[in-house]
């Protein structure tokens, strides 16, 4: 039969077609690429976990992923050194920043998506233009402004900064989600007696929830791990104000870099993000695919 080959393998006769062989090869290569990609992303995490379980001396002497003498000393040390306080600070800053970002961007995105007003397009482009400026470029002028306002060395100042810096991206992202919701829902809500804010609150908020989840997760992760702004605004205020990323930096001091403590603090620091992600993952994935399909 055309396209079919009889192969003898270990004494057994295999009856497979070329198309089947091609499919097996294709599947094999696909899984190999997937495996390499997973390894690429997972290896650094595994290596940090491995480091966190070693003694300080074993950091430079062993290349084994599984330490021969695992130790939890680093975890005890970082927990005793104020890590929990830094995590509390970070959680406070992250939650309030995300809340603030959502409070500003949700009605703004609704407005940009639904209303046609003079200057709408220019405003949207201006917002996008602001997003293109790297925060590092403006960190010093920002510090100056915040100091004048008396908002340095305080979490409030940092939260306001995060909200301001993250609004452009979040606004564009969320506007895209509002655009995918048919305007007939707004019309039906208005005929049912809703004003604009009630339409947003009772009718549109739930359908746009995947988009809100994406914005929330993205900004939570960002503010949780942000270093430059936090260091600039908070470092003169003492360790009590530190966020997690600054706290980890404490273990890299003038005397020595305590790699196992840095790794242990990093591992503990990842946990809340993983919990947050798993809790909202359903919305997050749906949000990403909706965005991809509906634009």
């Amino acid at each position: 039969m055309a396209g079919r080959t009889d192969t003898t393998f270990g004494g057994a006769r295999l009856d497979v077609s070329w198309s089947q062989i091609r499919r097996y090869c294709y599947d094999g290569v696909t899984y190999l690429v997937y495996g390499l990609a997973v390894l690429f992303f997972l290896f650094p995490v595994l290596w940090v976990i491995s480091l966190s379980l070693r003694t300080e001396g074993a950091v430079y002497t062993s290349l084994e992923l599984l330490p021969s003498n695992p130790s939890l000393d680093s975890y005890r040390e970082v927990l005793d050194s104020g890590l929990l306080r830094w995590m509390r600070n970070t959680l406070f800053v992250a939650v309030l920043s995300v809340t603030g970002i959502l409070l500003v961007t949700t009605p703004a995105a609704y407005g940009f998506s639904r209303f046609r007003f003079r200057g709408r397009r220019s405003l949207l482009l201006a917002v996008l233009g602001f997003q293109m400026i790297s925060p590092i470029v403006i960190v010093l002028p920002l510090y100056d402004i915040m100091r004048t306002l008396g908002l340095t060395e305080s979490h409030t100042g940092l939260i306001l900064l995060y909200i301001g810096l993250q609004i452009p991206f979040s606004l564009w992202l969320l506007k895209g989600y509002f655009d995918t919701i048919p305007t007939e829902l707004d019309k039906a809500a208005r005929i049912d007696g809703c004003n604009r804010l009630q339409t947003l609150r009772y009718v549109l908020l739930r359908p746009v929830m995947p988009g809100i989840a994406v914005v929330a997760i993205f900004n939570f992760v960002l503010t949780w791990s942000e270093f430059v702004m936090a260091y600039t605004m908070l470092s003169p205020g003492g360790e009590d104000l530190y966020t997690l990323s600054m706290g980890i930096y404490v273990f890299d001091n003038q005397l020595a870099t305590q790699w196992t403590n840095i790794a242990a603090a990093a591992v503990i620091g990842i946990v809340p993000i993983v919990i947050f992600f798993v809790a909202l993952q359903r919305y997050f994935v749906r949000g990403l695919t909706d965005g991809a399909v509906k634009g």
């Binding site: 019309k187 039906a188 049912d192």
Partner: protein, 378 residues
């Protein structure tokens, strides 16, 4: 229930040179309990008109009255209207019951028990009582449209507005729902404005049809009035399936002539000047197949589309193709040479430039005036 009146309604989008006039000087009145169908091709302004009536779009000029009261300045929920949308517009996160109840919750002071009672009675009326706990995504298209209808009915409005409510349904369901909506509208006796681009829906459902094109009203009248006595070529071609045949002719003495075509001038077209050109309109169903060289024209049958009880045949006559509706299959075959003829009362005459009907028939089939006047031929 209420009378709806539109007086010189105008709606413009944009400003200055970029502005687009979507509706121009539209005046219409819909009687108490009447079902008026706004029909026309996409972009003709019918949905904009509906949005203006609903209060979803502001009016540039003109007055809208419901029950005699001007409502231009009223918000949608204050106009005592309810609307059904093409894509149902059900709130996706609410159950069918919550969808029905939402409008009552937002606009009335009814208690939860009273609202529940209204929901249940409406659901029973529409036969959706088993679906009340389901969310829209688990409902079929027909079920969704019933819930959407329920959401409109439950508020007991003075005016129903329906924006192509059947367009998203498949053909068989559309036919069923068409009958149900008609029945429902008759039972509830609510003034209704129904927007569609489907002339079959318009013909079968309407008490009266308002045909729109490019934002202007072309004709308003009963469905058969628009079918048999179109005011212009656009209405003649838009209403009726297949579309009316159009033949460019010139009057020569007592005959309309064109290449391969010759027809005696009907009496009611007698006032038309000889030597001028006109467009003759003949509906496919009005054309009879006769022996070659004995009718108005002789041609060759091209494509034949069998539909069971009837067939549509395309007959090539010189540089014109006429569509004719014949009985059943086998009346004519591809390649047959046939004659075509038609009774004078079924001929429409339009001005070539303006498209205005210049010799309309005086009545509908069966009217005494019609049988007396229009069957005579010069």
């Amino acid at each position: 229930m209420a009378r709806l009146e539109l007086n010189d309604l105008r709606k413009t989008f944009g400003r200055g040179e970029d502005s687009v006039e979507a509706v121009s000087d539209l005046s219409l009145s819909v009687s108490d309990g009447e079902l008026l169908v706004l029909v026309g091709p996409s972009g003709c302004g019918k949905s904009t008109t509906l949005n203006c009536i609903a209060g979803l779009d502001s009016v540039t000029d003109g007055t809208i009255r419901i029950g005699g009261d001007p409502v231009n300045e009223r918000r949608p929920e204050e106009r005592d209207i309810a609307m059904v949308f093409q894509n149902y517009a059900l709130y996706p996160h609410m159950t069918a019951a919550e969808n029905l109840e939402f409008g009552l919750k937002m606009t009335t002071g009814l208690t939860a028990a009273e609202r529940r009672e209204r929901v249940e009675s409406t659901a029973e009326l529409l036969d959706i009582d088993r679906l009340l706990d389901q969310k829209p995504k688990s409902l079929s298209g027909g079920q969704k449209q019933r819930v959407a209808l329920g959401r409109a009915i439950i508020r007991d409005p003075s005016v129903f507005l329906m924006d192509e409510p059947l367009s998203n349904l498949d053909a068989s369901l559309r036919s069923t729902m068409r009958t149900e909506i008609q029945q429902l509208q008759e039972d509830l006796d609510v003034t209704t404005v129904y927007v569609t681009h489907d002339q079959t829906e318009a013909m079968t459902m309407a008490d009266r049809i308002a045909v729109m094109r490019g934002g202007t009203l072309q004709q308003v009248g009963e469905p058969l009035e628009c079918y048999y006595r179109p005011q212009n070529r656009f209405v003649a071609e838009f209403i009726g399936e297949p579309a009316m045949n159009m033949v460019q002719v010139t009057r020569r003495g007592d005959r309309f002539v064109a290449d391969g075509f010759e027809y005696p001038v009907p009496k009611r077209a007698d006032h038309l000047s000889s030597g001028n050109s006109f467009t003759l309109g003949i509906r496919p169903g009005a054309i009879d197949v006769v022996e070659p060289q004995t009718g108005a024209a002789t041609g060759t049958v091209g494509v034949v589309e069998p539909l069971g009880e009837t067939s549509h045949a395309h007959v090539d006559i010189a540089d014109t193709t006429l569509t004719i509706t014949t009985d059943g299959p086998g009346t004519v075959e591809r390649g047959d040479v046939v004659g075509v003829d038609f009774p004078p009362q079924r001929v429409h005459v339009f001005d070539v430039d303006t498209g205005v009907a210049v010799a309309r028939r005086d009545g509908l089939p069966g009217d005494p005036v019609e049988s007396n006047l229009n069957t005579q031929v010069d």
